[in-house]
């Protein structure tokens, strides 16, 4: 038997952070996406303990400011694509600058400097990644996927999919299904 689960990433991550931080016993506040504020500066050994605790969950503390901002941009984009239905009507630039409280040109520059790509390309990559997940699950049609990801048409989704992966959605689906079959053979 198989069951499928869907994550509310925001909630999952927040809960993990809270559990780890509570264990540390230092007052903190979670503000916004991936940001933790401490009333008092952390002692080096406290920071080490936190690093170690986070490491188990694949959470890393980002030390330089630009990379930290780039990470927050990525998280906000992920959240926008994966869960925020309201956000889909926004333009990405308006959404990010409102969410993170910086001008879009600043965000865009920091992002390009630290990630080898642009915000626009990253959004496409992330949307296609989501589309792949939905295609692999096999229970939505391409039309439904296009609608859910806010593409104007199936053709638009297919073209962007092909441009990003070099494969059509149906070839992609065939490959993933065959891989699954193979892994089930003992």
């Amino acid at each position: 038997m198989k069951i499928y689960v869907k994550f509310n990433f925001n909630k999952t991550c927040k809960r993990v952070l809270e559990e780890q931080l509570d264990g540390l016993g230092i007052p903190y506040a979670l503000s916004g996406v991936g940001e933790i504020e401490f009333q008092t500066p952390l002692a080096p050994e406290q920071k080490d303990a936190l690093k170690k605790a986070f490491d188990n969950y694949g959470i890393t503390i980002i030390d330089d400011e630009k990379s930290a901002l780039a990470q927050r941009i990525k998280d906000a984009i992920t959240e926008m694509i994966f869960l925020d239905d309201q956000a889909k009507i926004y333009k990405i630039s308006a959404y990010l600058s409102e969410r993170l409280d910086y001008s879009y040109s600043h965000l865009s520059n920091v992002f390009s400097e630290t990630t080898y790509t642009s915000i626009e390309n990253f959004v496409i990559l992330k949307k296609i990644d989501y589309a792949k997940m939905l295609i692999a699950e096999n229970d939505l049609t391409l039309t439904e996927i296009a609608f859910r990801l806010n593409y104007s048409s199936v053709a638009h989704l297919s073209t962007q999919f092909k441009k990003t992966t070099g494969l059509t959605p149906s070839v992609f689906q065939r490959i993933i299904n065959k891989r699954k079959q193979m892994s089930q053979v003992p």
Partner: protein, 148 residues
């Protein structure tokens, strides 16, 4: 982060191809470290004996003596220590059937060897860039397929 170095390996029995590949990698704007191998056996010995950190990206030629690319790919996917590595097939074959077969057996990237150096540089830049995103942006590695 931009100052991190991307470790890449290539196994290819053709010396000219290795040299061209090395030059193309050196011209990329990413900081890289490249290790070269003449056949699949050398590569597997290296990967299985790697005490230091494993490479982030492996380029495999399909037709090689002693151990070919397909055998390497299958061994990598069966090994608990290596199965999560990102594998790019680097081959002259452009048959849709061959390409699908390598993806089904676990390749992430399929590169049709380009016939000009300019094109090779372009393809490598695209692959490195996308691989980088997969390593830094919590994209789903299981669904990482790219054909160029």
């Amino acid at each position: 982060m931009p100052n991190k170095i991307l470790h890449i390996v290539l196994a290819d029995d053709d010396e000219d191809d290795r040299i061209l590949f090395k030059e193309a990698i050196e011209e990329s704007k990413m900081k890289t470290k490249l290790s070269l191998f003449n056949d699949g056996q050398q590569l597997m010995d290296y990967l299985l004996g790697a005490n230091e950190s494993l490479p982030q990206l492996i380029f495999l030629d399909l037709n090689m003596p002693i151990k070919n690319g397909m055998q390497c790919l299958q061994e990598i996917r069966k090994s608990a220590a290596l199965k999560d590595l990102c594998v790019a097939i680097y081959s002259t074959s452009s048959s849709d059937h061959d390409i699908e077969e390598t993806f089904i057996l676990g390749a992430n990237i399929y590169i049709n060897k380009p016939n000009s150096f300019a094109k090779l540089k372009e393809v490598i830049e695209k692959v490195l860039q996308l691989n980088w995103q997969y390593h830094t942006s919590s994209l789903n590695m299981d669904n990482f397929l790219l054909r160029v």
